[in-house]
């Protein structure tokens, strides 16, 4: 490893040298990076580090999840609600491979995470030893950076770089694989935080001319529209963003991961774009004259067919990652750099405006969506409970202050569409990878990182059973999360597609479910089931009022569909209301 030369000499000593083992060094590195909680699962190749954790248990809280995948999602939930780096740990072989789903999820959703894996002794590498797997090779395509450490002396630098890389620039997951002999080996430890790596420029320079051109385009626009993404949240740019859209009077729509950066009820918030987004912003994407994309990446679920996406508009793209520029949508002006800094510099260049007539278009289309879709979802006249009315009740009982952790599927779209978000970092969901099973463990991490916040997990009956074992973690750690399972006895989103595009051939989407309430009670978690509208309010209230963890199952309409919907490959403006 030639890494030593890559760190610039601008580092500052934080501790003096002391002779310790590699595994103790791991704990000291974590403490030096301010880690207070980590999620993991022990096993042979990581036991020396666990032995040190035992000694340091007053300083660092290890949460034993019930599966390594749960550890990654908990670390993600922790990172997403706090903005800090989530940390998880596993042993070699199957422990390490079980992390991969969460790592891939963190990579595509730009979540800062450090994963530590044990590895067989370095003399056994490549020998197909017990629980040996090439986790560095396997994790390469889904990590921002990874490294195998075979000597204790490499540990401090590996950790310093790992934390620096995970949280700087566009955040992402990193993995450190440590051979067992490196954990045992003693060396002279000292820790220096990483301040820079010569081959890595986390934040590109912002071109002042690009900013000026962007401002001119916005000032001259008659029908401007903003689509913002998680970049606004990751860049802590919420206030700068709000100032920009308020000054220039810009109608602003969000991608699923951008949700909650500004409150749902903000007058300039025109809703969600994309496949199950709101009618107005999708339709008007193809009518605006300037499209201002901020910290988003034009995912196919957002754009629909690229051949017909915003072709009439000049496109301005603000992003921290140069590789996103022109990747999917050709931009007219690219503003690289940190979102907060860029937006702050943009603000004085903008003219005050209100675009009242243009706004009316959004209001008119919202009214159409309300009449055709939203009204029936929130105030149904049919017997069966809708998912949206459950969300509405949660909004009421939590006054829109809850962090909503959703899983993947119909309930996720409903949660994002109908939850009230008053606070930033309140929508925690698996956007890019669409990982079923994400919500329950992510809610654990979120609640532990932000104990003062109400954390409500909204999960379908399918995804819930993918990581249901984490009820054990909730029980053992006494994490007061609120779990709502919206049970329609179907893999609902797939069933919806089967209904619409596969002539109702419901192949393997019907679920015969266990007694969820009994399972929760088996873990000593208070639980109840609601099947009727008249009991919904009290049930939700009971859940929110409960001091400890709570499980609420709501039987919803079996064959409800999520609308509006842009069929795959269709244009955003061909969004269907029914």
């Amino acid at each position: 490893m030639k890494g030593t030369q890559t760190i610039q000499k601008k580092t500052k000593k934080t501790e003096t040298t002391e002779r310790i083992s590699g595994s103790e060094a791991v704990i000291k590195c974590l403490l030096a990076e301010g880690v207070d909680i980590l999620y993991g699962y022990p096993g042979g190749a990581i036991m020396p580090v666990y032995d040190e954790l035992y000694k340091y248990q007053d300083k660092i809280h290890h949460v034993l999840t019930r599966h390594e995948q749960g550890a990654t999602h908990s670390a993600q939930g922790y990172a997403r609600i706090s903005g800090k780096v989530g940390v998880c740990m596993a042993t070699s072989g199957p422990g390490a491979t079980n992390l991969i789903t969460g790592i891939a999820d963190a990579q595509i959703d730009s979540t800062p995470m450090v994963c530590i894996t044990g590895q067989v002794g370095s003399h056994l590498l490549g020998s197909d030893a017990f629980q040996e797997t090439d986790i560095v090779g396997i994790s390469t395509p889904v990590t921002k950076w990874n490294i195998q450490v075979t000597k204790a002396s490499q540990i401090p630098e590996a950790f310093a770089k790992a934390f620096y890389i995970a949280k700087s620039g566009r955040p992402g997951p990193v993995l450190i694989d440590i051979t067992k002999d490196a954990q045992f080996e003693e060396f002279d430890f000292k820790y220096e935080k990483c301040k820079g790596i010569r081959s890595y420029k986390p934040v590109p320079n912002t071109d002042k001319n690009a900013l000026k051109t962007a401002a001119e385009l916005i000032n001259n626009a008659k029908k401007p529209m903003v689509v913002w993404g998680q970049g606004v949240i990751l860049g802590k740019a919420e206030e700068a963003f709000k100032a920009v859209i308020e000054k220039a009077g810009l109608p602003s729509a969000w991608t699923i991961l951008g949700a909650s950066a500004i409150p749902s009820k903000h007058p300039l918030n025109v809703g969600m774009v994309g496949m199950h987004g709101n009618y107005a912003p999708n339709v008007l994407t193809n009518q605006c004259d300037v499209l201002i994309a901020i910290g988003m990446r034009f995912d196919d679920r957002v754009t629909g067919s690229l051949n017909t996406y915003a072709k009439q508009a000049k496109v301005i793209h603000f992003d921290i990652d140069p590789a996103e520029i022109d990747k999917n949508v050709k931009t007219d002006v690219a503003v690289l750099g940190d979102a907060k800094e860029s937006l702050k510099s943009l603000l004085p260049l903008l003219n005050a405006n209100s675009h009242t007539n243009w706004h009316q278009n959004f209001k008119d289309l919202y009214q159409i969506e309300y009449d055709k879709v939203i009204k029936n979802e929130l105030h149904p006249t049919k017997e069966g409970l809708t998912m949206a009315e459950v969300l509405k009740e949660i909004n009421t009982q939590t006054k829109g202050e809850a962090a909503i952790v959703s899983d993947v599927g119909q309930h996720q779209m409903i949660a994002c569409r109908y939850a009230d978000f008053n606070t930033t970092k309140s929508n925690i969901t698996s956007g890019g990878l669409g990982t079923m099973g994400f919500a329950l463990p992510a809610a654990i991490g979120a609640k532990m990182a932000a104990p003062e916040r109400e954390v409500v997990a909204i999960i379908g009956d399918g995804g819930y059973q993918m990581t249901i074992q984490e009820l054990g973690t909730i029980f053992q750690q006494k994490v007061p999360v609120k779990i709502v399972v919206l049970n329609n006895e179907f893999l609902g989103m797939v069933r919806q597609w089967q209904q619409l595009f596969f002539d109702k051939r419901y192949a393997s989407t019907e679920m015969v479910n266990p007694d969820f309430v009994a399972i929760a009670k088996g873990y000593s978690i208070d639980a109840q089931k609601v099947t009727t509208r008249e009991n919904l309010k009290d049930a939700v209230k009971g859940m929110i009022d409960c001091k400890g963890p709570y499980f609420l199952e709501v039987r919803v309409e079996k064959e409800g569909n999520v609308f509006p919907m842009i069929p795959t490959g269709a244009s955003v403006s061909d969004i269907r209301l029914e």
Binding site: Q5, Q8, P141, Q148
Partner: protein, 177 residues
């Protein structure tokens, strides 16, 4: 040249010397079904900095996106792409041929002479010739020698330098401060 039209590009990547990086870079091509025509890694003009030279056939629109993905890797210092006109490039090849032929087939000696190939070694059983040049020259030599029978043949990946100055050294010097 139309941005959508496919053509040969030489990609030069300056990187830290790291074991895992080859894997990371090849994954970028593999994931997008881009066939790598040739790949060479070597030290560069800068001490401690490695250089990848990769030959690919694709459109300029896509090569730009690939450069973005490559530069995104933490240990990549800088990546460039060049057209055929912008580089001086060479490949190298070796042929192992039965020694009898060298004396029995006069034509072989002429081929070696005319192609500017070099005899590396000769023994009783076989002789080895080496040639550096452009792909077409090597292809021609291969065709000419195939007639007589080749015991072994191998060809290296392309290596290339640019006609214009590479700003990488000054860029690195700035990064150091």
């Amino acid at each position: 040249m139309n941005q959508e039209e496919k053509q040969l590009y030489t990609i030069s990547i300056y990187t830290e010397n790291n074991i895992g990086l080859l894997n990371r870079i090849s994954a970028i091509f593999q994931r997008r079904h881009i066939n790598v025509e040739s790949l060479n890694t070597s030290p560069s003009e800068i001490e401690g900095v490695s250089k990848f030279t990769i030959l690919i056939r694709m459109s300029e629109v896509n090569v730009k996106k690939i450069i973005g993905q490559i530069e995104k890797q933490v240990e990549v210092i800088k990546a460039y792409y060049h057209t055929e006109d912008e580089t001086i490039y060479q490949e190298s090849c070796m042929f192992k041929i039965k020694s009898d032929l060298l004396f029995n087939e006069r034509q072989i000696q002429n081929i070696i002479k005319e192609s500017n190939a070099r005899i590396v070694t000769v023994n009783k059983a076989f002789f080895v010739i080496e040639k550096s040049g452009k792909k077409e020259e090597i292809d021609l030599l291969h065709r000419e020698l195939t007639v007589f029978g080749i015991m072994q043949f191998t060809r290296s990946g392309r290596i290339a330098v640019t006609k214009d100055e590479m700003k990488i050294s000054t860029m690195l010097a700035e990064l150091q401060h």
